[in-house]
């Protein structure tokens, strides 16, 4: 393994990663209502909600919950009756859960050797970032324990749960977020794995194996974003950081590497803090708006002129520590800026970067005087709208106070670039309570037997059988399996005369190519793929034109293969027409053939293909042309 990819030895540093994989199910309906699972392009209806933390029996409120409430956030939900009803709008209690979804979770538990519980209890897991209209996610444990085979090793399975997917984020602003309700309530199965040594490539391999095991049930949704991985990352036995929403499998290793570096960087910064003998971090906040009214810093000037305020928070004996960069890009100052951004401000300015931000030395002196601090202190300026600044200044002080801890347990989001950014504090354990609107499900022997009868062939065997039966290379067989279209493959191979390797290649390559071009992959349905390949099979157009046909369908320019053929002018070429074209080219090039013999072939082929491209298979053209050239 590539230990070199980490700036430390993962084993010596007890670097651990626990995977949680969320897999959308290919189900006929949502988990708690009969709404169909479909993405709505138009969202004509809307409503606005504010979520509030609820208080536990002990008078305590979940820290993550308070955090969201402090942000005073308004959530705007947009929806379309075609893809959501009053259940998603939190205007009607949930209906009984989809039996299909619960049984699929049981099936996945079986696949992973997980013990199905005797009674399934749905819980409310508080999530008040607005991603669920109710303020909680409904979730239930279906299986406990089990293991996943990864290569020769085994990774423990902790739980198999069935739960509802969150609303789709449309827009993320400081004070308001917009969500679409079409995805809310789509059934997901979550598999939580025991932690593994944090070797990035190994973690990615585990995620890949788990995805394949789930796919073996034949009940997973296809397409991007239908499988998401969360990572629980920790090192040196420190606090656990939850990284949410890695959308692509190929990013897992990168995210692990980023988070490893960030965490180790924070540990090194903590060591520096301790070296200075700081055990308890003090802080002092003062309003610095007046001091900075004539400031040279363009950012601050703009904020103050716009009616904003500036709070200066001083941390004695911290000078130099906010800008300290043990690894590239890892700084305490950056952590503070992320907290500010999550809370509706543009960032913070700290004393290690005053000059860079255009603050003069005199201003630095004035600020220190204001805060009653000497040059050994670090200053953090929090600037912006008055309603935000006080909260953010308090959060910043809170974060710096925890610097001696090194890594602080928190929830972060994975970015598309494979980095992580601060989202919110980690929710406490006390964030789950029973969903009283849904009766528990007693798992009967009949249910177990029914699910047991659905147990699929293991994915490794399936892939091996593809190589064996259809003479696919091992890689091609794996790619086919991972494409999610292997069922379609089996069906097409059984009824078409096309070579299995050709069918496999088309099913794997065309969707990937179109997706890269930005074509809406939800339109490249199994039906569209099947119809296109059948048309190639019957000679309506050449296999080279299949991608054009599917592109036209994917872009909405054609409703089906017939329309695409019409639109692209792909009227196939009859044998007679082709032979005529070949004869014409051959007779026009008699001299060239005489002169170059077989070496003239590629020139002639090019000429024939000018008229035959997309209409006739290239192979057929070449064999006919070779014959014609011999004559």
């Amino acid at each position: 393994m590539e230990r070199a990819s980490l700036p430390f030895d993962p084993e010596a540093c007890q670097f651990r990663v626990g995977l949680e994989v969320h897999q959308q199910l290919a189900a006929g309906r949502k988990l708690f209502c009969p709404c169909p699972i479909t993405k709505s392009d138009e969202l004509p209806l809307a409503f606005e909600r504010r979520l509030r933390p609820t208080q536990s029996e002990l008078g305590q409120i979940d820290p993550a919950a308070v955090f969201e409430f402090n942000k005073g956030r308004v959530n705007l939900y947009r929806w379309n009756p075609e893809s959501a009803c009053l259940v998603e709008a939190d205007e009607e209690p949930p209906h009984p859960p989809s039996t299909e979804a619960v049984e699929t979770a049981m099936l996945m538990a079986d696949v992973l050797g997980s013990r199905v519980v005797d009674e399934v209890h749905f819980m409310r897991k508080l999530v008040i970032d607005g991603s669920n209209t109710s303020g909680f996610q409904r979730t239930a444990i279906v299986g406990l324990g089990g293991s996943l085979r990864v290569g020769g090793a085994k990774v423990g399975v902790l739980t198999v749960t069935v739960e509802e997917d969150s609303a789709r984020v449309l827009k993320e602003g400081a004070q308001a977020r917009e969500y679409a309700l079409d995805r809310l309530g789509v059934p997901l199965v979550e598999i939580a794995l025991d932690h593994v040594a944090g070797v990035p490539e190994h973690v990615e391999a585990v995620a890949l194996s788990l995805g394949r095991a789930l796919r073996s049930t034949g009940r997973v949704a296809r397409g991007q974003g239908t499988i998401r991985q969360d990572l629980n990352v920790s090192l040196l036995g420190g606090q656990v950081v939850e990284v949410k929403g890695v959308q692509k499998l190929g990013l897992v290793a990168k995210v692990v590497r980023y988070e490893a570096t960030r965490q180790m960087g924070l540990v090194k910064i903590a060591e520096e803090v301790k070296k200075r003998g700081v055990e308890e971090v003090e802080s002092r906040a003062a309003d610095a708006t007046d001091v900075l009214r004539g400031t040279a810093s363009p950012v601050l000037r703009r904020i103050i002129q716009g009616g904003g305020v500036v709070t200066c928070v001083a941390f004695p004996r911290f000078a130099g520590l906010l800008g300290l960069e043990p690894f590239p890009g890892v700084r305490l100052g950056k952590e503070l800026a992320e907290i500010a951004r999550t809370n509706g401000l543009g960032g913070v300015i700290h004393s290690d970067e005053f000059a860079k931000q255009g603050l003069t030395e005199d201003e630095g002196v004035a600020l220190r005087a204001l805060a009653g601090s000497d040059s050994g202190a670090a200053l953090v300026l929090v600037a912006g709208d008055a309603s935000r600044v006080v909260t953010v200044a308090a959060l910043v002080a809170e974060r710096v106070k925890r610097a001696p801890l090194g890594v602080v347990g928190e929830t972060r989001a994975a970015t598309d670039e494979g980095e992580t950014r601060y989202l919110r504090p980690r929710p406490g354990a006390a964030r789950m309570y029973p969903e009283t609107d849904i009766p528990e499900i007693v798992v009967t022997d009949a249910m177990k037997a029914r699910v047991g009868g659905l147990l699929p062939v293991r994915w490794e065997e399936k892939v091996a059988s593809y190589s064996r039966e259809y003479s696919l290379s091992e890689e091609a067989a794996l790619q086919l399996y991972d494409s999610g279209d292997s069922g379609l493959f089996e069906e097409l191979v059984s009824r078409l005369r096309l070579e299995p390797s050709v069918v496999a290649a088309m099913l794997v390559e065309i969707p990937v190519r179109l997706s890269r071009e930005g074509v809406d992959e939800s339109r490249i349905t199994p039906e569209a793929l099947g119809a296109t390949l059948a048309a190639v099979d019957s000679g309506r157009f050449a296999k080279e034109a299949a991608v054009d046909v599917l592109r036209a369908i994917g872009r909405g320019e054609a409703r089906d293969v017939d329309e695409a053929v019409e639109r692209l002018g792909l009227k196939g070429m009859g044998d007679e027409e082709l032979e005529e074209a070949i004869a014409g080219v051959v007779s026009r090039n008699r001299e060239l053939i005489a002169e170059k013999g077989d070496r003239a072939f590629s020139v002639l082929m090019g000429e024939v293909m000018k008229v035959a491209r997309g209409k006739v298979d290239g192979k057929k053209v070449s064999s006919l042309l070779r014959e014609a050239m011999k004559e």
Partner: protein
């Protein structure tokens, strides 16, 4: 939480043998496996063959008693101690009385067991709804603990007396928290019992219980409290969400309001009139067309809190047998409100029974199951026959309001004749003279 809440039969026996109580940490052994977690209560209606354990992760799982080989009690559960966070107490602000009837508008969740318990003191209310301290000085009182569907006329009477006490005690306004099912009936009943009340009385509830982050209780309570403290009008009203958003509350006249949706936040609607006001964080917008009465003086106000429950609401339906109606009329009731069809009809074969009941001193009134519009019993023969039989047509009065009014009228009239006269008279805005275009 002591004992084995909700456990019966084999499950209870198993737990008793292990000397386990709800809240204890248990290790449940099943064959070769173990599950460790907190024992949580079981719901009354669930079977007696499973025990429910809350895992460390927070999830509950049910374990079949038949599979359990041993239960080991690892630790005793700690009784949760509630410590209300310190809050300002709304000192110096207008005083508002909050009367609780048992709806869960203000409650806390015990995450350990999932139990929900109501807030009963001012401190708890302030800690649940910190904004309350900014709008009013609250005096909460749990008057009763009854589900909305179990509320009876005697409870309406008790509430009316409590409101009268609040008026005499100089409260600026009163909030009554209540389950929403029969809120429309209660609002109508209090409108008659508290006719002329000089302060605003707001009945509030929630369609999503307050143990959820998305509850509508928060906005309903804060908005109603701020109006109870500061609104310039008086009377009895229902205050609930105006639409699906947490933005605007509608103030519905107590005699014209109906629950028109089983579950949505904006279930309550003003029928045949407009809401008298809307509240939002920006302020109160009073609807001048509905002209709610201004606040008055406490002196001289007297509640008339008595109700006679011997009245029935009968919804006529096609093929209703004469025997059905006779059974109702013979059940000891003193009066009946019909929800007739269309302009106010029941089938011809029932007319004679009605006539006999009226002749014997019964009070019979007619409303329409159409909800919108007004009865008119002069248009068709059956209507004229019913009028002749002594039925009192109630214009555009809502059927539920008519029932509450009849119970009140029967208790506050010396004779059937007087009760009929009261029914026909507009006392608290329960009928309107003009039928406006339906929105």
């Amino acid at each position: 939480m002591p004992g084995l809440l909700g456990y019966r039969g084999p499950a209870e026996r198993l737990l008793r043998e292990a000397e386990a109580s709800v809240g204890d940490v248990l290790e449940v052994q099943t064959g070769g496996e173990k599950v460790t977690g907190t024992l949580v209560p079981r719901y009354e209606h669930d079977d007696d063959r499973h025990i429910v354990i809350k895992l460390k992760s927070g999830y509950n799982v049910g374990i079949s008693v038949e599979r359990v080989s041993k239960v080991v009690r690892l630790a005793e559960g700690e009784e949760p101690k509630f410590v209300a966070p310190k809050r300002a107490t709304g000192g110096g602000l207008p005083r508002v009385s909050v009367l609780g009837t048992g709806g869960t508008i203000a409650s806390r969740v015990d995450y350990r067991t999932g139990a929900v318990s109501p807030a009963t003191t001012a401190e708890e209310l302030y800690s649940l709804f910190p904004e309350l301290a900014d709008v009013a000085s609250i005096t909460p009182e749990i008057v009763m603990s009854v589900y909305s569907e179990n509320l009876e006329p005697v409870h309406w009477g008790e509430l009316a007396k409590k409101v009268a006490e609040a008026v005499a005690g100089g409260q600026a306004g009163v909030l009554i928290t209540m389950g929403t099912d029969t809120m429309g009936y209660a609002a109508a009943a209090l409108s008659f019992a508290l006719k002329g009340v000089p302060i605003p009385v707001f009945i509030v509830g929630s369609q999503r219980s307050s143990d959820r982050p998305s509850s509508d209780a928060f906005l309903n309570l804060i908005g109603a409290a701020s109006m109870a403290a500061g609104a310039g009008f008086s009377g009895v009203y229902v205050v609930m969400h105006a639409d699906s958003s947490d933005e605007r509350l509608a103030v519905h006249r107590g005699t014209r309001v109906r629950k028109d949706h089983t579950s949505a936040r904006d279930a309550f609607e003003s029928v045949g009139v407009e809401p008298v006001a809307f509240w939002s964080r920006e302020g109160i917008a009073v609807n001048a067309r509905e002209a709610p009465p201004p606040r008055g003086r406490a002196e001289g106000f007297e509640a008339r809190p008595r109700f006679d429950p011997r009245a029935a609401l009968v919804k006529f339906y096609p093929s209703m047998p004469a025997g059905y109606l006779e059974a109702v009329l013979g059940s000891g009731v003193r009066g009946v409100v019909f929800e007739g069809t269309g302009l106010g009809h029941i089938n011809a074969k029932s007319v004679e029974a009605v006539a006999r009941f009226v002749a014997a001193g019964g009070v019979v009134c007619m409303t329409s199951q159409c909800i919108w519009g007004r009865v008119d019993m002069n248009v068709y023969d059956t209507g004229r026959d019913l009028l002749k039989a002594g039925v009192v047509p109630l214009e555009d009065m809502l059927p539920e309001t008519a029932l509450a009014k009849l119970m009140w009228a029967l208790a506050n009239s010396p004779s059937a004749e007087e009760a009929r006269r009261l029914m026909a008279e507009d006392l608290a805005g329960e009928t309107t003279p003009r039928t406006v275009q339906r929105r």
